[in-house]
Subunit: 140 residues, 2 copies
DNA sequence: TTGCGTGCAAAGGTTTTGCATGGCA
DNA sequence: TGCCATGCAAAACCTTTGCACGCAA
C-alpha cells in the first residue's frame, strides 16, 4: 500500500531493506544506527524513530517493549499481513538479563486459550515471560 | 520470612500501607511521591524506587509497563506466595488498566511447555499478560 | 514549486547512581 | 557499633521535538 501522500526516500528504502534482512530477529534503534554508521551512510536517530513509527502504523513492523531501561525492539513482519502476522514471544531472564525470542507455534495456543476461556485478547508484543534461562538454572 | 538482613524503616512501612490501601488500582512513582508530599511527610523519589524494587523482588508488588514514555505502574498483590500453593497469573488491560487474576489449571501447561521445549523456568509472579479485556474489546 | 523528510541539537521525562548523613538492630 | 536506608543532586538513558535545509513528486 503506497503511503498516502508520503514520500519514499533513500533512508526509508534502506531502512526497510535492512529490517527485511533481519527478519526473524529484532533490532533496536541503536543497532540500526550503528549498522548504517558502519556502512558509511549514517542515518539520523530521529529519522529512524520517525520511519519506524510509520512502519509500525502501517503494520509492517512490530515494536516490542521489554521493560523500561531496555530499548524497544523492532521486527519486520512483512506487508500489512492482515492474516498471518507472525509475532513472537519473549522470555527475559531475571538473573542474567538475557532476552530470548521465541517463534513457537505452540505458544499461539496461549492466546487462543485466554480468548476463549477468559475473554482476554492477548497482545504478544507487550507480553514478556519472566523467569530463569537454561544457563542460569544450571549455574544454580 | 523477615527480609534477610534488611531493615524496616518508617518510609517502607508507610509505602506498604499506602499500596495496600490502593489495592485494585495502580499507582505511579509520581503518584506516590505526591501523596506523601501532600501528607506533609515527603519521601525521596530514589527511596520510593528502591523500595518498590525490593517489593517487586519479594513478590508483593507487581510492576506494569503500559508503554514507554508512560511512567511504570505499581500494584500491591499481596504477601509473598512463598509456599507456591497455586500460582496466580495476571492479565493487564492496556486500555482500562484493569488487572485480572487468573487461577487456571490450563495455564500451568505454559510453564511446563517453556521448561521442556525451551529450557526456560517461568516465574508466574513476575509474568504479566498484556492485552485487551473483554469489556474493552466489546466497547471497540 | 510545494511540502514532506532529514538531521542536528536540545529538550523532555523517567529511572538510576554517588555520596554523605541518619536510623535500625 | 555496624550496616542498611535515606535523600539530594547529578547522571544516564531512551525518545521526542524544533527548526532550517534538502529532496521527492
Amino acid at each position: 500500500m503506497a503511503s498516502r501522500g508520503q514520500y519514499s526516500t533513500s533512508q526509508r528504502e534502506e531502512l526497510c531493506r535492512f529490517l527485511e534482512e533481519q527478519k526473524g530477529t529484532h533490532v533496536s534503534v541503536v543497532d540500526i544506527c550503528a549498522h548504517f554508521r558502519d556502512m558509511g551512510k549514517p542515518i539520523g536517530t530521529a529519522t529512524v524513530y520517525r520511519q519506524l513509527e510509520r512502519l509500525v502504523d502501517e503494520g509492517e513492523v512490530n515494536k516490542y517493549i521489554i521493560d523500561l531501561n531496555t530499548p524497544a525492539c523492532f521486527e519486520y513482519i512483512g506487508e500489512h499481513s492482515a492474516g498471518g502476522a507472525h509475532t513472537c514471544f519473549h522470555c527475559k531472564c531475571e538473573k542474567c538479563g538475557k532476552l530470548i525470542h521465541l517463534h513457537c507455534e505452540d505458544l499461539e495456543e496461549l492466546g487462543v486459550h485466554l480468548k476463549s476461556e477468559h475473554g482476554f485478547t492477548l497482545d504478544p508484543r507487550r507480553t514478556v515471560f519472566y523467569g530463569i534461562c537454561e544457563e542460569c538454572a544450571k549455574a544454580g
